[in-house]
């Protein structure tokens, strides 16, 4: 059987290109697709990965054993309905319960912007999103899911966003862990990522913040609070468009604490749509939040704050400063857009975009610097308010990535989802500290990792007993050599006794004997020569059973020695030595010994 098993990782999407994630892993003959993300920078077919690279002929359903989605962000799941309903993948898709619940909300939002607002065609429909979600098998944390008889997967907590998970993929004794996006430090509403010491052959980890260190998160938060504070102080209004289930909770808790500490009086509001939706899902998936939230949730809901209150439409026209959290996060419709329209004309106000915006949305336009927007009905809206972009997405930093490697103890590490230069730095650090190979494939590149799998072999009880009785007593610490016949059948290996193997295979046994003639100069009678040989061997081979048989032959274990006189020269005796191939070692030793001749005896 092959000595080398390998797994390949190729990345139609991810791999040194922050855009979309889509990684293909082949492990012990099984093909798994990790994430099925969309590139947010394109607005044509190029936004989806080109799946024709996976298999040129043949269906994807036949090629792939399953698809795993790590979390609900569109750069990780945005191409899923396209893949399953338009490209035609019909196999199983796995994600966690919260991801399965929240994913369709984002996909539907995105579809609305693209099709209903921008009028694009050739895009997935609502029905397709639903049909796709119906193919999804939801998994629990730490639940081992058997995809088929050989392939199993298991989800671990990843932090990052509600429901985000890392996945272990295991076939036989080979395994891969894929992290998706994760966060190794607990934040205000989610816990830290955790994986057990599973020693995978390969750890595929994101490296978005490969060179950043933890303090930068504090800096960003301080920056955010400073900006909000300054605006409020000068009497301006702050609008923070958010996705209900993204980082909204985190920012609310951040502001609440700050307001408390600074004893600020300006009102903070959040739109009601946000709280209802978010509370529904956080209640449903309370086990996925951190311990503190879990405890307080028993007493009050996620949005019961001292300083933050529910927003009413009429409040937007109130004079004086205020801060409002409103959905949707990309300013493409609804309450956040309404408020934006009212406040945009005043330079004292500020809008802070805490997340990514899809092309074509008002959010994307103002972030790319547009100051004059054409609204519905050809109205021109002049944007005088300050526009700020601050990313609060929770990714592991270099320290966190190292920490995860220490936890999982992988044999190889593969970095995806980061910039090449930053990854190079991290790669060197990993190789130095952990002495493991670290790879960073380019987009479209295949990495092959060689593994040394231990292959389990069943041994028959009979053979085990027989082998342990021979030779010295078994020592548990030392490996023991077993002799038997290795049978391979239906992908399993068994070590059985040769007799049993013959029986099972219906074969007859052939005995193979080696013979060798040794000439000895000895004028004495044959039986005397035999006796001399017998005595000689008996003297040398003290640990072996040497016998002189009544028919005049000698045996040493299974080796037979007979003596005849040479037909032409009576002074020369011919010793015929014969042994089975199992005793080849002893047989060769004996012939070599006899070839040296007999000692000058006194017998």
């Amino acid at each position: 059987f092959p000595e080398v098993f390998y797994c390949c990782v190729s990345a139609p999407g991810a791999g040194q290109d922050v855009g979309r994630s889509c990684i293909l892993v082949s492990i012990a003959g099984k093909n798994v697709m990790l994430d099925c993300g969309m590139h947010m920078g394109y607005n044509d077919d190029r936004r989806f990965p080109d799946f024709s690279y996976i298999t040129q002929n043949g269906r994807l359903t036949d090629f792939l054993d399953c698809v795993i989605i790590s979390h609900f962000h569109l750069d990780h799941c945005g191409a899923l309905p396209y893949f399953s309903e338009m490209v035609g993948y019909d196999g199983p898709i796995y994600m966690t319960h919260p991801t399965k619940a929240i994913c369709p909300i984002l996909l539907e939002d995105y579809r609305k912007i693209t099709v209903d607002k921008k009028g694009e065609t050739n895009f997935f429909t609502s029905q397709m999103i639903k049909d796709c979600m119906k193919k999804v098998v939801a998994v629990h944390l730490h639940q081992t899911v058997q995809v088929d008889e050989e392939l199993e997967i298991k989800a671990y907590y990843a932090g990052h966003v509600l429901g985000a998970a890392m996945f272990q993929i295991k076939v036989g004794c080979e395994s891969v862990v894929y992290t998706g996006d994760y966060n190794m430090t607990p934040d205000r509403h989610l816990g830290a990522a955790w994986v057990d010491k599973c020693r995978p052959d390969l750890l595929i980890t994101e490296s978005t913040y490969a060179t950043t260190i933890r303090d930068s998160k504090r800096c960003r938060e301080r920056d955010f609070l400073k900006k909000v504070h300054e605006t409020v102080e000068r009497g301006g209004k702050v609008l923070i468009p958010v996705f209900a289930l993204g980082r909204a909770q985190e920012l609310c808790i951040l502001l609440e604490t700050f307001w408390e500490r600074m004893n600020l009086k300006a009102p903070i509001y959040f739109s009601t749509g946000l709280t209802e939706k978010a509370n529904h899902y956080y209640k449903l998936f309370i086990t996925w939040t951190n311990q503190k939230i879990r405890k307080t949730f028993v007493q009050r809901n996620m949005f019961e704050f001292k300083h933050i209150k529910a927003f009413d439409r009429a409040f937007a026209d109130n004079p004086g400063p205020m801060v409002v959290f409103a959905t949707p996060g990309m300013l493409h419709a609804g309450q956040s857009l309404q408020i934006f329209r009212k406040w945009a004309g005043n330079e004292k106000n500020m809008v802070i975009m805490p997340g990514y915006c899809v092309q074509g949305t008002v959010g994307h336009k103002i972030l790319s610097g547009q100051r004059k927007l054409e609204m519905e009905g050809r109205q021109i809206l002049e944007v005088k308010m300050q526009v700020e972009y601050m990313s609060f997405s929770a990714h592991a930093d270099a320290k966190g990535i190292m920490q995860l490697i220490r936890q999982a103890e992988p044999r190889n590490v593969l970095l995806v989802h980061g910039e090449a230069k930053k990854m190079e730095f991290l790669k060197q650090k990993i190789e130095q500290e952990f002495h493991v190979n670290c790879y960073m494939p380019a987009n479209g590149e295949t990495t092959t990792i060689f593994t040394n799998p231990s292959i389990p072999v069943d041994i028959s009880l009979g053979l085990l007993k027989r082998e342990t009785t021979i030779g010295p007593l078994p020592d548990a610490k030392k490996p023991k050599l077993m002799h038997g016949t290795l049978m391979m059948k239906d992908n399993s290996f068994r070590l059985v006794s040769p007799e049993q193997a013959l029986k099972e295979l219906g074969l007859t046994e052939h005995q193979l004997r080696f013979t060798c003639r040794v000439h000895i100069q000895d004028p004495r009678k044959e039986h005397e020569t035999v006796l001399r040989v017998y005595n000689h061997l008996k003297g040398i081979l003290k640990d072996y059973s040497v016998q002189h048989l009544p028919d005049g032959s000698i045996t040493v274990e299974s080796i037979l020695i007979q003596a005849t006189a040479h037909s032409e020269d009576q002074g020369t005796k011919v010793l015929l030595v014969s042994w089975t191939y199992q005793d080849e070692e002893l047989g060769s030793y004996l012939t070599a010994l006899l070839k040296k001749g007999l000692p000058q005896s006194t017998a």
Partner: protein, 552 residues
């Protein structure tokens, strides 16, 4: 970059900042890979018009990127995005003869040959596409196309590429051969001119040897190549060696590879009938094998009278679990595709095919267990295999529209109902079962209306509605949703049918559907709204059922 695809020729003159930008990047000792990659793409796009090409050349900007001073030897060439940018840039530029000559004379073509084996799949395949594009551009520029293999008839650039293809095909390395096969596949797909056949004559023997000798592992690429050729007018009319080669491939490829080729052949409009029959035989062989393994001696024959390749190959694939599932799923998906063709070019033995499908579905649910040695192995391999179940149900659905299938309608409903009733049926399989059942119920309705009315119709309706009631209450939202979709599709197709209306209204189904309007899952609520809308056709708008004892 998309913006620069605008064909305005004055672009460079009107925007001198563009040339300034390119010059400044060229002057940088070590630009960042992403910036360099962008600039390579941009320069290529700009050089796509002949006029702009000359302008850029005058400014000596092209040589620095695509000529001898290109970035090949710099450390940045190690970065895949730079190589990818270079190939894409060259491809954009390659719209006219001056660009072609400048690249070929400057040695750029060797770089492209090397990039065919690039570690990045995207770069490698872009390089291959670029070579095809250059070959076509080179040959098509000549007013008289080459009609023979004589070197003098071919342009120099085309000759270089053809020589490269021929040399790689002779190589001992599978990777070299694979690159050339992929290149040829793209070529025959993109170009249908007569000269492609002239090129083919020089390599046909070599390709055939890959099939018969199997010394290098490249057979998996042959089906795509042959299919692209079969679509090309340059080959499909040919009296020559092309169709015998296809026949040879059907015989020599593995069943999985041959299946892909066979399906492609059956989609062709122009193809010799004997090749088609052979292709159908290849497709049906696995199911034939199962039917034979399942049947008692002489009970009923298999699907086929004779086979194309050795049946033992198929049998051995069916005896191992993973290859059995793989082969069956592939066969079934091809059959589904075949059944959805508007015009079937061959006669399909529908009734035996249907029997084999019912058998496969039964095997998947664990009954009956087959006695023959192969049969019992197949039973073990298929039990509870949802992948095969889904594929088989898809084919079963398409078969409902074929004539010649009505005799087995009883066993079809037996197996469908057993799937619907089985609590272990997973939601995805259940959805497909509902879809197939819906189609077969329509079929049943057609049969009932004809003279030879089938006696068990009523019982079937009763069972279907019973199981529907149960499934509408499933704790799993996917199941409730599929049940509602099933109901909607039934009403759409059969709302004028008295028997259906009567059974539906006398069941609990309408009440249950109404309850689902308040389902916690929004997808289910939406489906319930649709279903209730369609139900209204029956409950409110349909002609009243005749009431016993007229009151007027």
């Amino acid at each position: 970059l998309d913006w620069f695809l605008d064909p305005s020729t004055k672009l460079l003159q009107d925007n001198p900042c563009l040339t300034e930008f390119i010059t400044s990047i060229l002057a940088l000792p070590e630009p960042s890979p992403s910036v360099l990659s962008f600039t390579l793409r941009l320069t290529g796009i700009l050089a796509a018009s002949e006029e702009r090409f000359h302008l850029l050349q005058q400014e000596k900007l092209l040589a620095g990127f695509f000529g001898g001073d290109g970035p090949f030897s710099s450390s940045m060439w190690q970065d895949a995005s730079v190589r990818s940018g270079w190939v894409e840039g060259v491809h954009s530029m390659m719209q006219h003869q001056p660009a072609l000559h400048s690249l070929c004379n400057g040695g750029g073509i060797d770089v492209i040959f090397t990039l065919q084996g690039d570690p990045s799949l995207f770069v490698a395949s872009a390089a291959s596409r670029l070579l095809v594009h250059m070959l076509i551009l080179s040959v098509e520029s000549k007013t008289s196309k080459p009609l023979s293999r004589k070197d003098s008839e071919w342009p120099a650039c085309a000759l270089t590429i053809i020589k490269h293809i021929e040399d790689s095909l002779q190589s001992n390395l599978a990777s070299d051969i694979q690159q050339s096969l992929k290149l040829l596949t793209t070529l025959f797909h993109n170009c249908h001119s007569k000269w492609t056949e002239v090129l083919w004559q020089g390599i046909a023997k070599q390709i055939e040897s890959f099939l018969t000798e199997k010394s290098v592992q490249v057979q998996h690429l042959v089906p795509s190549l042959l299919l692209k050729m079969a679509w090309s007018p340059a080959f499909c009319h040919s009296e020559g060696r092309f169709w015998p080669l296809v026949t040879c491939a059907l015989e020599h490829l593995t069943p999985v590879q041959a299946g892909h080729l066979a399906m492609g052949i059956l989609r062709l409009y122009k193809c010799p009938q004997d090749v088609r029959i052979q292709a159908l035989t290849v497709l049906l062989q696995p199911l034939d094998c199962i039917l034979r393994a399942a049947s008692q001696p002489l009970e009923y024959a298999g699907l086929l009278d004779e086979s194309v390749s050795d049946p033992a190959t198929v049998e051995s694939l069916l005896s191992s679990k993973s290859s059995c599932i793989g082969l069956l799923c592939q066969t079934l998906s091809h059959l589904e595709e075949l059944m959805s063709l508007v015009h079937l070019p061959v006669e399909v033995p529908y009734s035996s095919l249907l029997r084999s499908l019912v058998m496969v579905l039964q095997l998947c649910s664990g009954s009956p267990s087959l006695v023959s040695p192969l049969g019992s192995t197949i039973t073990r391999n298929l039990i509870n295999c949802s992948r095969v179940q889904m594929s088989a149900l898809d084919v079963l659905r398409t078969l409902s529209e074929q004539n010649g299938c009505s005799t087995l309608i009883g066993s079809v409903f037996d197996v469908l109902l057993s799937y619907l009733e089985n609590p272990n049926t997973i939601p995805t399989v259940l959805k497909k079962t509902f879809q197939a059942t819906s189609k077969w119920l329509v079929r049943l309705d057609h049969l009932s209306r004809s003279k030879n009315r089938w006696q068990h119709t009523e019982k079937i309706w009763e069972d279907v509605l019973m199981v529907l009631q149960k499934r509408l209450c499933s704790p799993c939202w996917e199941v409730r949703d599929s049940s509602l979709e099933f109901l909607t599709s039934l009403i759409k197709a059969l709302r004028d049918q008295a028997e259906f209306r009567q059974s539906l209204l006398s069941s609990e189904v309408p009440k249950l559907v109404e309850n689902l309007l308040e389902d916690p899952e929004s997808y289910v609520r939406a489906s319930a709204v649709t279903a209730v809308g369609h139900l209204a056709f029956i409950t409110y708008f349909a002609p009243r059922l005749p009431v016993v004892g007229q009151q007027y």
